[in-house]
Structure formats: C-alpha cells, structure tokens
C-alpha cells in the first residue's frame, strides 16, 4: 500500500474572538500574499478518526430524515473515510503574518485540530455556479448562514 506521510503545519484554535489557524514557526513566511484573498481552504485532519475502524468505513448514514438510506463515504463529507482529511472553506477575517495566524469566520473543527494545508480560494478554480446536489440534500439549510445558525455538521 503506497502512502504519503503528512505532517501538521499548525492547528485550528478557537479563541475568544473567534476561530483562527495558528501556524508553526517554520511556516510563517508562507502566508505572504494570502491577505489578497477573501476566502481560504483549510485542509485539516480528523485526528480522532485516524484509526483502522473509522478508516475502513465505506458507508455512512446522514442525519437527515429524507436521506434515501446509507451514502457511500465518497458521497459524503464524513470524518470516517479511508484518509481522514477534511476540507473546509472559510472567509478570512484577518491575517497576522507576525504570529502566523489566519482568522476564520467559522469552523466546525475543535480547538487543537491539526492543520495540514492552506490554499487560497480561487473563484476561477473553486466556485461552481451551476452545480447540482441530490434533491433530498438540498433540503438542508438553503444558505451557508442558515446552516451555520443551525449548527450543522456533515
């Protein structure tokens, strides 16, 4: 089985004024220029799911009444998957290059969650205006704001 060794570059912190990513010292210079973007992708690690049982899951049961039965893990954003890596998009609230911190408008990660990569959200790459999801899935909060208000995790 071929693998790639992943190492943490920092962690998600839940501060009094909101969540932020805090980078380890060697990675501070890598933030230069991120302030020109409004949104960011955070790749982080579902560290509590990094075990053989959770990495062997093939289907999950969405917490949604209208879901048509189990969904394949690749049709979900479940933490239980072969590689427990998470992808979150957030609006950048601040960039503190001196302390290696990127403020996020929200996160569903816990304090101390390891971060493995930061990428700028590039509209030309990442924004699909004409995208489709299953009808039952669309019953979930119709907007990002409503989803956050409902505390949804999926």
């Amino acid at each position: 089985m071929q693998t790639l060794s992943i190492r943490p570059i920092g962690a998600i912190r839940i501060g009094e004024e909101g969540p932020y990513v805090e980078l380890e010292p060697p990675y501070l210079p890598a933030l230069k220029g991120l302030e020109y973007y409004s949104h960011v992708h955070i790749l982080w690690w579902f560290s509590r799911r990094d075990n053989p049982a959770d990495r062997g899951v093939t289907q999950v049961h969405p917490a949604h009444g209208a879901a048509p039965g189990p969904m394949g893990v690749f049709a979900s954003r479940s933490p239980c998957r072969p590689n427990p890596i998470a992808l979150s998009t957030a609006e950048i609230t601040f960039v503190d290059a001196g302390r290696g911190r990127i403020g996020l408008d929200w996160t569903d990660a816990e304090d101390g969650t390891p971060v493995v990569d930061i990428k700028p959200y590039s509209p030309g790459l990442d924004r699909v205006e004409d995208c489709r999801e299953p009808a039952w899935h669309g019953d979930w909060p119709g907007s990002y704001e409503a989803s956050r208000a409902a505390g949804n995790k999926y």
Partner: protein, 234 residues
C-alpha cells in the same frame, strides 16, 4: 495527530497528459478534458460510491508529483506574475508546499459501477497528469463550497483561452479520434511555461499518445506537426 500520519493512495486518475507540460493551470477551463478515476484494488467497493451520482461536481484530493529531492518552499514565484515576484506558498496552489496535496474541483461525468477495473468515475475538466495518485473524493456542496462573494488576489482572472489555434495541413487528422476538441482547448489556454515567449521556438506537447509540435507568434498558435508517441517534456 502524531508527528506524521499516513495518507493512503486509494485511486489514480487516468488522463491524456503523460507529462506536466501543457496541463491548463486552472482545472475546469477545458471541460472536454476527460479523466477516469480507477480505484486501487483494495478500494474497489461500489457501496462507497452510493449516492455520488447525485452530485454534479466533486473535489479530488491528490498527490503532487515532485522529485524526492524537492522539498517545500515557503515562497514561490507564480508563473502568472512573470516569475519575478515571490508569494507565500499558502497564497498559491503551487506544488511546493509542506504536504504535497493538490485540490481540484471537477465535473462528475458518470459513475460506472461495473467495469473490468471495478467501479470507476468519469470526470471532466481535470488538470491532472496521467497516473496521479488520489487520496480522497468529496462531493461538492453548494452551500459550503460555492462562494459567490469570494475574490481572488493577484491571479484572480482565470487564464481561459487566449490563443487562436491553427493546424497546419494534415496535422489535425493525426490527432487521435475524439481528442481534437480537447487538444484545441488545451492549446488555446497557452501551455507554454508562464514566462517564456519565443516565436522562433518549436514546442512539444505530449497529449493522448501523440507528440504535438507547435509555434506561437503573437496570439496565434500553429500546430506544425503531430507525431506518434511522446512522453518527453520539452
């Protein structure tokens, strides 16, 4: 997380790009570019894909191919800036990041559950080299992933098609069947390295099993020859 953790290769994508040269720098630019995601034998589990066909787009998390000696770099010189200005690697999609993970949004063209190679995904708009290892597949969720108010920085405008593509007599016929439009799209996006512009030079692009030779003068790209084979980056 321990100091390091293993990410397993669960699949590979097969595309027409046998080298890195010529791959459009932004995925989705050439929708005709098709790829097939084939799972590693131990991950050929059809139930793991149940429901995926309901999503029009998916995220692929994949492994950048870098020479072993190449480590990460805190700053890089994005081609779009002419190769002169340095940006932090986290402000780019450069391969030279601490963890060599790439992220691409692609259109899901189809899920074929029963093929000789197990269940496969057909995707479109994939900017990946043939054989690229895949770590994860996630559905593209409109409310989480589509940000209408997002603005990008110095490289905000997608490159798109910038060149007029002309085929010298006889060349188009030598392009493998069904690949002509995809090749035209790739060439129109200007596959030359970001800061090269030499009207006298004959470039070579390996695509779909042929070697496509072309020159660029002004805004016109002329394919001057198409020969079988091809695996060299030039």
């Amino acid at each position: 997380m321990a100091e390091t953790a293993p990410m397993k290769i669960i699949a590979r994508i097969h595309t027409d790009f046998s080298t890195k040269f010529g791959i459009p720098r932004q995925s989705g630019l050439v929708d005709e570019l098709e790829g097939t995601v084939v799972f590693a034998p131990e991950y050929r589990v059809p139930e793991a894909l149940r429901g995926l066909e309901g999503f029009s787009h998916i995220w692929l998390l994949w492994q950048f191919s870098r020479a072993v000696r190449e480590d990460w770099s805190p700053t890089v010189r994005p081609p779009r800036l002419g190769g002169n200005e340095r940006m932090g690697v986290f402000a780019t999609r450069s391969p030279f990041r601490p963890n060599a993970i790439g992220l691409s949004c692609v259109r899901l063209a189809g899920v074929d559950l029963r093929t000789p190679r197990g269940p496969v995904l057909r995707v479109a708009g994939a900017d990946l080299m043939d054989g690229t290892p895949i770590f994860d597949i996630k559905p593209y969720l409109p409310y989480a992933d589509c940000r209408p108010d997002a603005v990008g920085g110095f490289a905000s405008a997608p490159a798109g098609e910038r060149l007029r593509v002309v085929f010298a007599p006889g060349c188009l016929e030598r392009v493998p069947a069904g690949r002509g439009e995809a090749l035209r799209g790739v060439l129109a996006c200007d596959p030359r390295p970001g800061y090269q512009s030499d009207p006298g030079r004959v470039y070579g692009l390996s695509f779909g099993g042929v070697d496509v030779r072309f020159t660029v003068a002004g805004e016109t790209l002329t394919v001057v020859d198409v020969v079988p084979g091809g695996g060299e980056m030039r």
